[in-house]
Each structure stands twice: as structure tokens, then as C-alpha cells.
Amino acid sequence: MAVLQIREAINQAIDEEMERDSGVFIMGEEVAQYNGAYKVTQGLWKKYGDKRVIDTPITEAGFAGIGIGAAMTGIGVRPIVEMMTWNFAILAFDQIINHAAKASYMSAGQFKVPIVFRGPNGPAHMLGAQHSQALESMMAHVPGLIVMTPSTPYDAKGMLKAAIRDDNPVIFMESEMMYGQKGEVPEGEYLIPIGKGDIKREGSDVTIIAWTKMVAVALKAAEELQKEGINAEVLDPRTLRPLDEALIIESVKKTNRCVIIEDSWPFASVGTEIAHRIHTIAFDYLDAPVEKINSADIPMPYAENLEHEALPNSEKVIAAVKKVLYR
């Protein structure tokens, strides 16, 4: 099996879908001639040319809207809109939330919006407050949007292909820190359906729920915990909306304990929603309240020591696991 970086896996997904369907195109800042700010679109402009790999001006609201409008016409156009980072996509939230997310509903189903907004999300390293935001909870709040957050090259490819083929607006959130991360990707086509989570590590004592960058943190914590005889299960929902509730409940019924890790802020987060669902649906199975580890509830500071302190890490996860195990 080929070993690919996440950026290469995403690139393959885009490339294959563009080859398969001439209605698929990609646009965004620096996606064409520069090969992408994070080199995700490497080689695509060379292969497909100006018509289908389109450099835009720095106008997030404008080109998001052009993508939505193009998708809505119902004549086979399926845009992929790259946001250089999700921090900048905030400028396009009006288009995404007020327009893309509502077109199908308000038109009583006449409009479909087959579009993917994708790009890196979440803190990277010392980028300061305006460039270090994990915004998945904001997007997941909105009915009408699908939110996907891959954590491996294999998942990224299969999930993105499913996202491109779906008829709804999909928010696809990657991580700058993970683009170089490698993993096996099989030859040949596969799709990972929207709304399907995955067990990244089986265990029996506690369920750790994490997505994108936090999956690695969870796995590291699980390895450490194993040394102390604690057998942790690591569950990656992969899609945050719609959530694979069945998988989560099944795992918690088995382990009776749960810790959720996110690098977004704690207030009204996806983790809050997951914890609520576990508490209401699987209350009788729980041996401890669900714990949540988040980034500190602050705009991200620049200084290295402060940033480190603000972010979730495996030590914090281990402590939370021990708390739910009363150890």
C-alpha cells in the first residue's frame, strides 16, 4: 500500500474527483500557480489549467458566494472552495451560514448546494490569536451544514471524496500541523460515508473521543495509560455533524467512562454536545461524569510557553482519564 502524507491524500481525492466529474473544480487563494499555501493542490493547476483550478483575489465572502451560487444552479457544477485557513473563512460565514446552509430548506428542496469548503483549522504553532482558532463547533452549530474532520491520510481521502459527491454544503476541516503526517492509503477507489465514526484503538476501560489533531494526542495518552494497565479506547467521530451517535453510545456502554478532547474552546463546543448526549442516552452505563479537555478559554497567546499551556496535551488527557477512573 502506498504511504502518503495527508496533503497528498487530499490532493489525490481532489484529483480523482476532478478526473471523474468535469463539473468539479477548485478555487481559492493561491491554489493554482502557487500550488496552495500548504501545497495541498500541488500539480493540479498544471494538470487541469485555469478553468478548473482557479486563483481568487483575497475575497473570502465573494468567492464563497460564487461557489454557492455555482453549485445552486443545478447544472452539474460541484465547487471545492479552499479556505487558506478557517480563520479567514470567518469572512465568508455570512455566505456559508445565511446562504449555503439555508438554500435547500427555504426553497422547499428546489435547490441543492453541492459544495465543499475545505482548509486547515485550529491552532498551529505560535501564530497568535487571529490565526489559531478551532472553529468546528461554530460550523457544527448550523443546521444545513455537514462538518467533517479527518485525522489520517486514509480517512482524509475517503471522506473528501464522499464530501465532494454529496449534495449538501460540507465543511471539511483539516489541520496545518498534520499535512505532513503519513499513513497508508490503498490503491483504487473507496469512500468513507458521511456520518461514520471509527475506532482508532480498541480498549475496555475508558473511551477517549477525539478528532483531527487531537486523535494523535489521544493515542499517545492511550499508550502511556497502557503502561499503567489502563486500556483506553480511542474513538474518532470523523464527521461531527451528523454525529455517529450510535458508535459513541456503543463504546461508552462498553467502557462506562469517557473523556473528550478538542482543541477548540470549551464553551458550547461539539464536545459539550457529545457529553450531553452520553449523559442523557447512556446515563445508566456511566461510572463517572464525562470529562472534557479543551484549549484554554482565551484567544491564543503568541509566547511559546503560554501557547503550550493553553493547548490540550497527553498529560492533561491522562489526568482526565484517571479522574474518571477515580485513580
Binding site: Y34, I58, L91, L127, A129, Q130, I298, Y302, A303, N305
Partner: protein, 334 residues
């Protein structure tokens, strides 16, 4: 030849009320910015500075020429390429270097970083990372000073690529509609990251974007610090006396990559070399020599002085402590 030239033409600044001290200060500021940032690039390479770091090298005349004619009670807004303007506003090289190092002695106490330099006491309002995000704030500052009956002006630097954002047009409209005392200085360095302006903007004359709002406007040679000073003086007068906005397109060039991580394959070495021939510091330096404001040895002395200042700034930044973990939750709310 030289003697003759001197007799026949006026010094470029002859029409401006600029003392020799002020001229030298302008030169010194540009040189300090250059040397400060060259050193910052080295320290970045050593891992002392993290994150994004956007250098101003090549554009010094724009910032210094625009800020030099300001009063102390005026306000300055800019984007993430902010080191040069901070230094031009008199923020200490120690405080600026310490901010880059993420230290508590930095101008934003290590919380802001390269893109977020602030000093309210000097009217230096920063330091903003979202392209097109800060011009509305700058217009708000002009609104506030007018509201309070003060005759302060606000100047707002922005990259040419930010003028493609929708909010830019909203703000030009309101600035003119409400006659705000503001000067928009669009630093047209030809590129937004790897995208040449011709690939991102319809139309050729950037400053004419202000024409739709019937705002006073024009293009300036941003590589010429005296021309910047002259045009800014006119615009400042207009803002202060008549409470009217101005849009200036300063044509300039960045000699370095967009940020420290830019391989820069979107432009040719020839193009960069062509612009380097118009190096704003060298050009102004040779004018100052020609008009006997600064001798060669005086320039060398300045170089030495600045070298020592930058060295001191690095040592200060290195020796300063990181912020204490205790401040993590400070200032989220006032």
C-alpha cells in the same frame, strides 16, 4: 559635475520645512528598520522567533515617510507587516525584538507576536492579521476623534490585495460620506503573497478605486521617502483642517518573501534586482550626502550606532523572561 548640480537644482526637500535633524532622523529610522529586520530574519532562522514573520525590507520609505509628518496625538493602524511602522513611530527596538521573541518585555508583552505590535500611548493601534480587517477600525478611530472634537488624524496602512475585500469599499464609502479625518495608505508592493496584482484586481489604476466615492486620491512613489512625506503632509492637512479623507496608493516593493516561509517562485530575480537599484535607503542616503546633510563618515557612524542598538535589542530580548503562566487568563475581558 556634482558642484554644478548642486547650484542648479534644489534639494528634493527644499519645499518642505524639514530641519537637518529631522532629515537625519528620517534616514536613521529607515536604516534602523532595515537592520532590525535583517537581524530578526537571522534570529528567526535560529528558532528564536516563531510563527509568521513578515518583513518590511524594501518598503521602509513608505512607512517612515508617512509617519514622520504625524503629530503625537495621531493614530496609526496597519496589518501584520508592522515592525517597520512601529519603529518609525518610535517604539523601542528592544520592545519590538522582545515581542518577536515572545517575551514579557515585548510591546504586547509577548502575547501578540510579530503580527500584533501595539502601543496605545503612541497611538500605534497595531498590528492586525486578517487581510482587510483593520481599515474599519481605523475609520472608527477617525470617527471617534471627530466625535470628540479633536483635530487628531488617523492613518491606515493596508496592502494592495486587501482593497479587493468587500469591506474596503464599505469603509471608503463611509469615510467620505461622514467626512472622516483619515488617510488610507495602500502599500502597493505588487503582490499579495504569490499573486501579482494584475491577476487579482480588475483595472490598472488602484487609486481610482477611491474615485467611486469622489475621495481625494493619488499615487505616490513609495520608494521615495520625501515624496511620501510631501503627499502625506497635504493629506494630513486636509484631514486635520477640513476633516476629509484621502486615499494614497504608495507604489513600493518588498525585497524579501511574503513571510519567512515563502520560497518566492512567483517573481524573477531580475525583477527584484531592478527594484533593489531603487533601494529607498540608499537613494535617500546619497541625496543627503549630495546636499551635505550627512557625510560618508557620519553615515558610517550611524551604521555603527544602529548595529549596537540592534545587538542590544537582541541581547535584551534573549535575556528577558517569558510571560508568567499566571497571565494566561488575563485581559480576556477588560
Amino acid at each position: 559635475m556634482k558642484e554644478e548640480k548642486k547650484k542648479n537644482i534644489q534639494a528634493p526637500w527644499a519645499d518642505l520645512k524639514l530641519s537637518n535633524e529631522k532629515l537625519i532622523k528620517i534616514y536613521r529610522d529607515m536604516l534602523l528598520i532595515r537592520r532590525f529586520e535583517e537581524r530578526a530574519a537571522q534570529e528567526y532562522g535560529k528558532g528564536k522567533i516563531g510563527g509568521f514573520c513578515h518583513l518590511y525590507i524594501g518598503q521602509e520609505a513608505t512607512g517612515v515617510g508617512a509617519i514622520a509628518p504625524l503629530r503625537e496625538d495621531d493614530f496609526i493602524y496597519t496589518a501584520y507587516r508592522d515592525h517597520g511602522q512601529a519603529i518609525a513611530r518610535g517604539m523601542s527596538s528592544k520592545g519590538c525584538m522582545a515581542e518577536l521573541f515572545g517575551k514579557v518585555t515585548g510591546v504586547s508583552k509577548g502575547i501578540g507576536g510579530s503580527m500584533h505590535f501595539y502601543d496605545l500611548s503612541k497611538g500605534f493601534m497595531g498590528g492586525w492579521g486578517i487581510v482587510g480587517g483593520h481599515p474599519p477600525l481605523a475609520a472608527g478611530s477617525a470617527f471617534a476623534t471627530k466625535y470628540q472634537g479633536r483635530d487628531s488624524v488617523t492613518i491606515c496602512f493596508m496592502g494592495e490585495a486587501s482593497t479587493n475585500q468587500g469591506v474596503f469599499h464599505e469603509i471608503l464609502n463611509m469615510a467620505m460620506l461622514w467626512k472622516l479625518p483619515i488617510i488610507f495608505i495602500c502599500e502597493n508592493n505588487g503582490y499579495g503573497m504569490g499573486t501579482a496584482i494584475s491577476r487579482a484586481m480588475a483595472g490598472e489604476h488602484l487609486f481610482e478605486k477611491a474615485a467611486g466615492y469622489e475621495m481625494a486620491r493619488g499615487a505616490v512613489n513609495g520608494m521615495d521617502v520625501i515624496e511620501m512625506y510631501r503627499e502625506m503632509s497635504v493629506a494630513i492637512e486636509r484631514a486635520r483642517k477640513e476633516s476629509l479623507p484621502t486615499f494614497l496608493e504608495a507604489r513600493t516593493y518588498r525585497f524579501r518573501g511574503h513571510s519567512m516561509s515563502d520560497p518566492g517562485q512567483y517573481r524573477t530575480k531580475d525583477e527584484i534586482d531592478e527594484y533593489k537599484k531603487r533601494d529607498p535607503i540608499e537613494t535617500f542616503g546619497s541625496d543627503l550626502k549630495q546636499w551635505n546633510i550627512l557625510s560618508e563618515s557620519a553615515i558610517e557612524k550611524l551604521e555603527e550606532e544602529i548595529k549596537a542598538e540592534v545587538q542590544e535589542a537582541v541581547e535584551f530580548a534573549d535575556a528577558s523572561p517569558q510571560p508568567s503562566i499566571d497571565v494566561l487568563y488575563d485581559n480576556v475581558y477588560a
